[in-house]
Structures are given as C-alpha cells and as structure tokens.
Amino acid sequence: MFNIVEKRRWYFIFSGILIALSLVAMGVSYMRYGQPLRIGIDFTGGSIFVLQFEGPVSEGQIRDLFAEFGLESAIVQPLGSPEEHRWQVRTREVTAEEVGELLTALEDQVGGLNRDALTFDTVEPAIGSEVARAAGLAILVASVIIVAFMWFSFRKVPNAFRYGVCTIAGMTHNLLIAFGFYALMGIVAGWEVDSLFLTATLTVIGFSVQDVIVVFDRIRENIPKYRREAFERIVNRSILETIHRSLATQLNAMFVMVAIILFGGTTIKPFISVLLVGMVSETYSAIFIAVPLLVVWEKTARRRAAAQAAA
C-alpha cells in the first residue's frame, strides 16, 4: 500500500515554505503600502472612477482637473491597452454633488466621455471601518461555527477534539496561502481587498472542511473495521480510499473557476482567483496536512502515555 502519511515531514516542509512565502509577500506589501494586503475603498472609504474617453487624453490633463477640485492626491492609471482610452482614478471620498461637476468639467476640459461605460464607486470612511470590523467578526464567527460543527459531527469518535483542532490547522494554512497569493497580486497587479475578497475568504473557510470531512468520515468508518491495524495505517488507508473523490471534485471545481477566470466578467477575476487558490490549498491541506497532523498527535500522545506507564 502506497504510504502517504509516512512522508508527512516533506509535506510539512513544503507547506512551511509556501506559508513563509505568503508571509514574505504580506511583509513586502506592508513595507510598500503599510498594509499586509492592500485594502480597497470598501473598507477604507474613498472613490474610484473608471473613465472611458472617446479620444486620447493625457494623464496630466486628468490629474490637473481632479486637482482643481481639491483632489491633488488622485492616483491616475491607464486601464487596458492605450487605444482603449480607459483610465482609472482613485481619490479620497467625493460627494454626490462633486461627481456631477467633475464629470461635466472632464467633458469640457479633457475630452468626451462615453457615459454608458462610466463607472464610479464611492464609500464613506465611516462605513468603511464599520464594514471592516464586521468583516473581521464574520471571519471569526464562521471559523468558530465550522469548527464547532466539525466537533459535533465527530463527537462519537475517540478524541473528537483533535479532529476539530486539525481542521483549524488546515483552515489557517489555507487562509494564509490565499492571503499570501492576494498580497502578491496586490503588489504585482494592484488587487485590493474588497467585499468580494471577504466573500472568497468566508467561502474558503466553509470549504476548508469539505475534504477533511470526507477523510475523517472514512477514518471513523475504518477504525472499528480494522481493529488490529495501527492508527497510522488506518489513516493512510482512509486517505487512499478517498483520494479519487477529492481529486475528481477538485478538478470539476477547477474547471468552472478557470473558465470564469479566462472567459468571465473582469470585475470578479480577483474574487474567483483567490477562491481557486484557497480551494486547491484546501484539497492539498486536507490530505497532506490536517490528516497527517492527526497521526502526529496520536503518536505523541501514545508515546507520552507509554513514558508515563514506564515511569
């Protein structure tokens, strides 16, 4: 029988490297932007405009016009290829009254706007921080509920508590890697944390138990079946019995997510990407981290018990 659990040290090292890289990405982001992940206006407040001009305009023209409205610190960036004349402008929070004047002034002084393609978003700083607090709470509540749910499902298995803790370990692993990926994309492509990122995070938390549950279920089923076998062997057997399913399911989820990333709407690409990374990490961590951890725990506990008996 192929032994997955035996080589656990390698998986732990591999995951350690991935997590270290994630932390590095967040560190670099922190040094550059003062935030481990770049936080978007949903949580900080501010305004973003996407302006589709009908002809070529220069960055300076746009910047000057925003400066006339007291928005000197506006960040002006071109979007897409230069022939598209699409620009993104980020500023502090702009009021509804100012937007109208700004747009009229842009048309008058900079160039014709395609109003049908015009997009803007403004969030007041006060609600931004409120949303941020609620987001933190939502993540905490979600984690606690999911772990409690795990513990409840496995309450009749010996040492149910360990299953819960190993699930948390896997969940933390997935979140760190997803965050690291997002931090990296923040540095490389300017991705920012918005309410969709929060949605992705919560979804990753929710799905963090999907594969673990299947393996744990099988362990639960196999323990009374193979009474003579060592726990490690039972665990390994359970992984091998369920790995086809884990991979097949993961593949299908990947098919649709890759399709959305490649062909779907542009605004949800960061959302689906982080979901994809989180879910791939989830399948991996279930088989190679959470379940082997269970074995480590079991062995340590046994060694201690033996040492105590000997003493």
């Binding site: 049908d116 403004t122 969030v123 609600i127 509920i145 929060l198 919560l202 979804t203 999907q210 098919f255």
Partner: protein
C-alpha cells in the same frame, strides 16, 4: 431486485420539463405569469432579473443620521423608506429598488441613472412644506419664493419636486363640495424666478396630521387633508378672512400649486380638488404627507456601473458558464461512463431548476451571483462523485450490482450531508453580512450558492439515484458482465 418506483422517474421528468418551460427565454403566456401569486400583481413576470452591476445604473446606500444624542422612533425607518420610495418613483425609472437594510440603512437602486447628484438630492432632500399666503396674485408652479421662514438660500441644492407634471389648476375647497375650480394660476412664466417679495407662511408640513387620496362621483381625484388641532383654529380664521384669495403649496421654497380659497374651512378638514390625473394627485398627496423625512439621511456610499459594462459582464458570464460546465459534463462522462452520463442528465436538470427558481422566487442576479451559480454547478457533481467512487469500491470488493448501488448512495450520504451543511452555514453568514451593509453583491453570491446546494440534494441524490436504479433494473445483467461501463 424489486421494481423501481416508476412514479419517481415520471415526477423527475415532469419537474424537469416544467423547469425547462420556465427557464426558456420565451414570452410566457399571461395565465402562467399570473400564477405567481406570491409576487405583487404589477411585477408578475417570468423573467430573469438582473442586478445593477449587470444592467447598469446607480446604487445609493443611505443611513439614518439622527442629530447627536437623539434616537429615532421605531417605525420611522419604514416611514423614511416609503418617502424615499415615493420620491424615487417620481423619477419615472423602470423597476427602481428601495429596500431597508438592517436597522438603519436604506439601499436605493436606480437602473439607468447616471447623475448621482440628481438622485441623491431627490432621495434625501429633507423638504420643507409650507402653505403660503399669496394674496390675489397666484404664483405659477415652480416659482422660487422667499417666505417668512426664509429664502431659497436656506435650501441646499435643487430639490426635485416633481411639479413639472402638476401644471393643472387647483381649487382648495371644503368637502363635500367637489366642483373643480377653474381658476387660473396666472400666466405661465417660461423661467421660474425669485420674486423680491416675502410671502407669509400660514402653515407648515408639521401642521398636517393626515392626507388622503379620494375620487369623487365625477371621477375627479381630490386630496382630503386634516390638520392638527392648533393649526385647525388658525386655518379656520385665516380662510374665513381670505376667501377668494390664493393659498400656495410650497415645497422647499418652490411653488407646487396655488389653489383658491373658496370658503372658510372649519375644523381643520379640507380637501384640494382640481383636474388632476391620478399620478398628479398621488404625487401631491405624498408631498403633503411626507413633506419631510422623519430623520436626516446620510449617503454612505454610492456606485454606478455603466450599461455597456453590464452587458459585457452578462455575455462573458454566460460564455464562462457554458464552457466551464461543458468541461464538467465531459469529464463526468469520460471518467464515470454510464453513471457519469446519468449524473450529467441530473446536472442539466440542476441548471434548469436553478434558472427556473431565479425567475419564480424571483432572485435578482448579480455578477458574483452568477459566479456563485456556476461554481455551485461545478461542485454539484461532488455528491455524485462521492456516490460513484463508493459504488466502484463496493463493486471491486465483489458486491453485486444492485447492492453496490444502494451501498454507494447510503454510505456516501453522511459526507454529502456534512459538506452541504457547512456550505449552508457559510452562506447564512455571508447573507447576514451582505444584508447589514447593503453589500448586495455578497448577498447575491450567498443566495445562488445556497439555493444551488439545496437543489443539488434533489438532483444529485434523488434524481441520480432514480436514474441509476432504473438503468440497473432495465439492464442489470448486461451491466454486471460489463463493469467497465460503470467506470470500474
């Protein structure tokens, strides 16, 4: 093996056909649309509803902003929502949305609107309603005047009063007199102008206790109103001494209309009559009743999506969904063969049922909502994968076909149940979060994902099981000899 229950197969086929009928993008007959008794009559339509991010438009999130240390009464949020709704309706948009979000927020969605200034002013302008003594010279509608309570400079921004439609003349008369007064309100001035005169304010919106809308036997719309006790006395005296003169209804220093006083109005009960259309009358009644919001509203966020971007998003999402699901269908067929093919049929039914439910409930689709749906479809096969893997195991360990099928379904069930439950828990948290902060995109994702998870229990477990049983019953022996067809 006992004969599988054929009624199950029939039921599934009927449900699938019904879902197909609803999901199809055709003109559904009126009787079908009218069956949607749980929807307001005016909105009974079997059609997909697209969110603002897909059709383009402006979304504004408002929050109650009571002055420091002041709490607002229970129920006043609902009043505020109704006022906002009536003001939004005056913009004449197709299907605007005004919804309460949590305890102190209102979300307003205005499809097709571009100018946030206009929208925000319409929504949150705390309008001041005044009844102004105009003497014998009526003021044309839309004239901006100065009253004893202040001039137009006291009013911020342009307030859309919706008066443009209220150009008909009106007579103020006591009930039950209903004859419309054909008094002219002066020559129509091309440009509303500020006259230098200061007009005396007789009553304000705060004095109005109740406003109704009624229709006389002559099919004229009238607006009966009732004043507070104190104001009733003032009004009675005032009307007695000013018969034949004009009393102008002024909203935020802008004249709405100037009815004549036909006679003394005692007891604080009167009505405004005139040649209104229903819309005009309703508009005026709303302005009289809800001249001012019960509390100031602050704009917390607003965002606008261009219509072209919305269309693009829809097209791209459909393309991504078709491509992604085709790959899933192909994978299932190749990897699990016959059962995979049956799961594919169930997946197609899954898509149809979901689309049908979106139209029936109805659920407003957003871009993340569509992503949630596509994702849920991709993961819907998970239940089948669990079952089929288990089935293969049982077959390999030498069990008979029928027994392996039953064991596959039964033993996979705890894992399916636990996985689905954890998804539903997360959806509930997302939904709660999205509702409280007007983050309708978060809500959209949670709803489609949760709905998909529930539908999946029907298609992936019940429907697939029925299909597999039927096939095993019809071709059991043939299959037992050719296990490769089952993916083993």
């Amino acid at each position: 093996m006992s004969e599988p229950k054929t009624w199950r197969l029939v039921a599934i086929i009927l449900i699938a056909l019904l879902a197909l009928f609803i999901a199809l993008n055709i003109d559904h007959p009126a009787w079908a649309q009218n069956l949607l008794f749980w929807q307001p009559e005016a909105q009974r339509e079997i059609a997909l509803r697209l969110g603002l991010d897909l059709q383009g438009g402006l979304q504004v999130l408002l929050a109650a902003d009571p002055p420091e240390g002041q709490e607002f009464e229970a129920g006043s949020m609902e009043t505020a929502r109704r006022i906002v709704e009536s003001r939004v309706n005056s913009l004449g948009l197709t299907e605007p949305v005004v919804q309460a979000q949590g305890e102190r927020r209102i979300i307003v969605e205005l499809p097709g609107i571009e100018n946030p200034e206009q929208a925000v002013e319409t929504i949150k302008g705390t309008a001041l309603l005044e009844f102004v003594d105009a003497g014998y010279n009526p003021l044309p509608a839309e004239t901006v005047i100065t009253t004893t309570l202040g001039g137009p400079e006291a009013v911020q921004g342009d307030v859309v009063t919706g008066t443009s439609s209220l150009t008909s003349t009106m007579g103020l008369s006591t009930t039950p007199e209903v004859t419309p007064t054909v008094s002219t309100t002066g020559t129509e001035s091309a440009q509303p102008q500020v006259s230098g005169k200061v007009y005396e304010t007789i009553l304000t919106g705060a004095d109005v206790a109740n406003v109704g809308l009624d229709r006389t036997e002559q099919n004229e719309y009238i607006i009966p109103f009732e004043l507070n006790e104190d104001a009733a006395e003032t009004f009675s005296q005032y009307t007695a001494s000013h018969v034949g003169q004009y009393l102008c209804i002024v909203l935020d220093k802008t004249v709405i209309s100037c009815p004549t006083i036909r006679e003394r109005i005692p007891g604080g009960r009167g009505s405004i009559s005139g040649a209104f259309t229903l819309e005009d009358a309703r508009q005026l009644a709303i302005q009289l009743r809800y001249g001012a919001l019960p509390m100031p509203l602050r704009v917390e966020s607003f965002n606008r999506v261009g219509a072209t971007l919305g269309t693009q998003s829809v097209n791209r999402s459909v393309r991504a969904g078709v491509i992604g699901l085709s790959v899933v269908l192909l994978f299932m067929l190749v990897y699990y063969r016959l059962p995979g093919g049956l799961a594919d049929v169930a997946l197609v039914i899954y898509v149809l049922i979901n689309l049908a439910l979106y139209k029936l409930i109805p659920i407003t689709l957003t871009l993340p909502g569509i992503a949630g749906f596509i994702l849920s479809a991709g993961m819907a096969v998970d239940a089948n994968i669990l079952i089929f893997e288990r089935m293969k195991e049982e077959l390999r360990s030498g069990r008979g076909l029928v027994r392996a099928i039953e064991l596959g379904f039964d033993r996979a069930w705890p894992s399916i149940r636990d996985g689905q439950l954890s998804t539903l828990i997360i959806c509930a948290i997302l939904f709660f979060f999205g509702t409280n902060f007007g983050a309708s995109i978060v809500k959209g994702f949670a709803i489609t994902l949760a709905l998909g998870t529930l539908v999946n229990l029907f298609t992936a477990v019940f429907a697939t099981r029925t299909f597999v049983r039927q096939v095993a019953f019809a071709a059991g022996e043939w299959l037992s000899e050719r296990k490769w067809v089952l993916g083993v």
